[in-house]
Symmetry: C2
Subunit: 450 residues, 2 copies
Amino acid sequence: MNSSLLCDFYELSMAYAFFKQNRHKQIVYFEVFFRKAPDNASYAVFCGLEQIIEHVNNFSLSRSDINFLKNTHKFDDEFLNYLLTLRFSGDILSVKEGECVFANTPLMIIKAPIIEALLLETFILLTLNHQCLIATKASRISQIARNKLLLEFGSRRAHGESAAVNGARAAFIGGFHASACTLVGKNFAIPISGTMSHAWVQMFDDELSAFRSYCQIYKDNISLLIDTYDYKNGIKNAILVFSELNAENTIQNYSIRVDSGDLLKISKYIRKKLDLAGLKKCKIIVSNALDEFIVEKLLKNKAPIDAFGIGEKLITSASSPIFGAVYKLVAIEKNGKIIPKIKISASSSKTTLPYFKKLIRYYKNDKACFDVLYTHNENSKNYKNLVAKNLHELIFKNGKLVYKLPSLKNIQDYHKKSIDSLNFRLKKLQNPSVYKVKISKKLKNLQKKI
Amino acid sequence: MNSSLLCDFYELSMAYAFFKQNRHKQIVYFEVFFRKAPDNASYAVFCGLEQIIEHVNNFSLSRSDINFLKNTHKFDDEFLNYLLTLRFSGDILSVKEGECVFANTPLMIIKAPIIEALLLETFILLTLNHQCLIATKASRISQIARNKLLLEFGSRRAHGESAAVNGARAAFIGGFHASACTLVGKNFAIPISGTMSHAWVQMFDDELSAFRSYCQIYKDNISLLIDTYDYKNGIKNAILVFSELNAENTIQNYSIRVDSGDLLKISKYIRKKLDLAGLKKCKIIVSNALDEFIVEKLLKNKAPIDAFGIGEKLITSASSPIFGAVYKLVAIEKNGKIIPKIKISASSSKTTLPYFKKLIRYYKNDKACFDVLYTHNENSKNYKNLVAKNLHELIFKNGKLVYKLPSLKNIQDYHKKSIDSLNFRLKKLQNPSVYKVKISKKLKNLQKKI
């Protein structure tokens, strides 16, 4: 799939009109920001930059794209020929993937000829809106689950292929340890795991034979799924098989998985049975419509669970499935000067903060204290005892990629550092406190003036 | 992206174990069904078959897929060589796209050697779970909006690229008339539309110039977006420009779009102003976080709206973002006999209905009365005055595609017929009645016996 035509048609309509008016090379500044994090969280996790870089680098309409556009009878040949050779020639600034970010701050700034900036809008938004959503959800779960193993189980309930694959990527950045999806192992080198489904057990005349049979083939990483028929019989059969194998001494990684029922009650029951049988190293994995709220409850009630398999509610961010990042014009260049632009709304929350800005985060002993928005050309203030960090990296300069992509593991580590730098009150599931984002005096005056 | 490896790793783990036990050619029957429609609806819309057919037809692991699997050190070469040449060789039965379907009925039946059936699970589920979800949402909106024009505006909030593109496809099947996304116009010949965003208006010194300028380029299909600064001024400027152009007599299709604020109040205000100015043919398009519930309220209050642009809440099915179709083993062949298989659950709703079944819908004067589940080989009953229809089409026979794919427009029409055949009580947003699905005596006895 060539994604260059994955743009809203109004972008092409406007591009054509600017072209006909010979304004298509005018330099503009668009900014990506969000107004509210999903789940009323105080923060979101920035994610998706790598896929955007790929899109921008490969941006190019094919001959067949152009033919399709010609057949809409909306554009003339001069414009279509122009589109055929169009490549991105602008600058992109962006927050790094894995960074914790806050509402109404510029996550990405696109400075480019208007026609190029317009045609990137949809792809940039859909990529960020998807991956920030899932990374944020994963980060929330990871904060609650702390030292537990987190497995991404969502592919089958994802909104299509790229939701499954890039969703697993975002979950890994947010703190998940492995995925059930084979393709993400190949594409991203994310650890993958998976042993059996209920179908395995059903394929045999009885559960005991199914478990024994599986252990004849696999000598390590064995997870027996015990609730195909009845978990009490299931754990009995599993213990029998594990005991026959002297699993405690012979198998490196072995576990029980439960995929239904009252997971608190069942996990306690199973742990007791396993311990009585001397299978102390046997781990317990649970799954079934989990999210951060259920995980929190299970752990508060001391459920003896070692690993959570989290699927549908992670991969769709079910409790809050929309990430509302927007792409707004904040300035244009005219005669070499940058002119701020604003969009006003009846609901003041939708009024934009104009101008080409920079975003600085201040830290005290590695703890994030507040962010400040400055105009791009003012000096950021020095605060005593605080360390300032410019959150924007230059990604493209005059259409050329100048940013070195970190490995996925590095991005995951970077997120870990970023989330650890936030005060714990910002990370509560209920009523988190609000992170301070200040606006420089110069920027405030500018907004008032407009 | 080769999607053949888009499977859960447990499918490969099980496939390998069956292979090592020389059971991988055993014929099995898997069934796809769902337990509850999204939004507590009484029905869902079946959608996604075309993409599944493509996947099954192209199913083939590449050399690089095999290399990746080899590097997991879980499989031996004999198995990997077998995988390299593996193609689908089984049968698939399926409901037709666009059909209204009900909980706990077989939407798709896969009869194949176990290894092939296992490896298709994830892709089949993620495709159906995504497209059924969006088609169902679109169908619900379409039922409420009746004769209004419905525009799909969701790309930017979709969960990634395939969610945007196939989501627009599903929305079209569910009854939407056009999409804002250019690529779906190219891929699916879905009508596309789009004129301007707020950025157009911001690019000019004032709104009036922006509107005038747009109308210098476009002579038809003009939609002026009036809420960049203030809708009251916006409609004034739009009316001025439309009047200058004598739009009522010179422009075929022209409209006003509003994307914020109290859409009931604003649409009434605008309609009045337009009518007073003699612009009676000017249409009103609204957008901004709409769904079936808001559309219902607007229309009940007689909002003079001609078209709805529906984005994020459609493309994510925000009020109910998970479609829970599952893929369950219902039978295996042994010595030429079909042996029913069941999965039992503590929650009886999760216990499966075993065996290879057929699904018959009975109609009276084109109205659907009830569905009946039979075993695959019993005769369906004749009811007086009722016409019976087998809802399953044979799609693949011995690995060969034997089904002729209908055009997308045909699928949309088919859905229209299917939804029209349902009693209106089934289509209410609140407390819809429940459609009757009967189970044949033979099938019931079979389940009890197991």
